[in-house]
């Protein structure tokens, strides 16, 4: 069975709210979860802003979809990789990010180095960028 599983990586490179990419990507990840593939989600470049703590889009009458990342482990998405380099470029650290607890209370939000991200990307069957 496992050999039929594909490794799918979703790469988020856009900030939330200003454009619809971030929200659309999340919809695709949620819808794709029914196929029970091996899924990881990566936050790269401005995509790291999507995981920023303390968002309050209600002031602009928009939905706070940063809450939805918290549901991803239940959808069997166990890794939300954050490109460390992109964080540094934006003056952010892990403390600026939301936490996404898995069932065992570990955090699905995982900082990753360029080297590790590069090899992880290379191992995928499918990479989709938003």
């Amino acid at each position: 069975m496992d050999s039929l599983k594909k490794r799918i990586m979703y790469v988020n490179r856009r900030a939330p709210y200003g454009t619809v990419y971030a929200l659309e990507a999340l919809d695709v990840v949620l819808a794709g979860a029914v196929f029970e593939q091996e899924v990881s989600v990566v936050f790269l470049d401005d995509g790291v802003y999507q995981l920023r703590r303390g968002q309050n889009p209600a002031v602009l009458n928009m939905k706070d979809f940063s809450k939805t990342f918290g549901a991803l482990p239940d959808f069997d998405v166990m890794y939300l990789y954050v490109d460390e380099e992109s964080l540094v470029q934006r003056g952010m650290t892990a403390r600026d990010l939301i936490e996404v607890p898995r069932e065992d209370d570990t955090d699905a939000v995982t900082l990753i180095s360029s080297t590790d991200l590069s090899s992880l990307m290379d191992q995928q069957d499918v990479v989709l960028q938003f």
């Binding site: 900030a15 709210y17 200003g18 401005d46 602009l60 952010m92």
Partner: protein
């Protein structure tokens, strides 16, 4: 003239072009995804720092709050304004140039 910029400076060159071309007495207002540029510690911070010598730079507060950005971490010299401030800037300036 009031220039508004709505694109992230780490993704598009909009802010750089705006600051290259805006006249010396212009007001610059950062809105939507451009508000990230007003924060300290980003790679594009120096762009805003040097522009502050020439322009008054504003940032729209509801767009900061939406994105979880704390006013205490704004680059010093950048002023946060609400929608009322946006309106005042539009009235004060004879024209508005919306960079897209």
């Amino acid at each position: 003239m009031l220039h508004t910029v709505n694109k992230s400076s780490s993704e598009k060159s909009t802010l750089v072009s705006c600051l290259r071309l805006a006249a010396d007495d212009a007001d610059i207002l950062l809105i939507e995804d451009a508000v990230y540029a007003a924060m300290t510690g980003t790679q594009t911070e120096s762009i805003i720092q040097s522009a502050l010598a020439r322009y008054q730079i504003y940032v729209l507060e509801p767009d900061l709050e939406c994105r979880g950005l704390d006013k205490s971490r704004l680059i010093s010299g950048v002023k946060a304004v609400g929608y009322d401030g946006f309106v005042e800037l539009s009235v004060k300036n004879s024209a508005v140039h919306s960079w897209l």
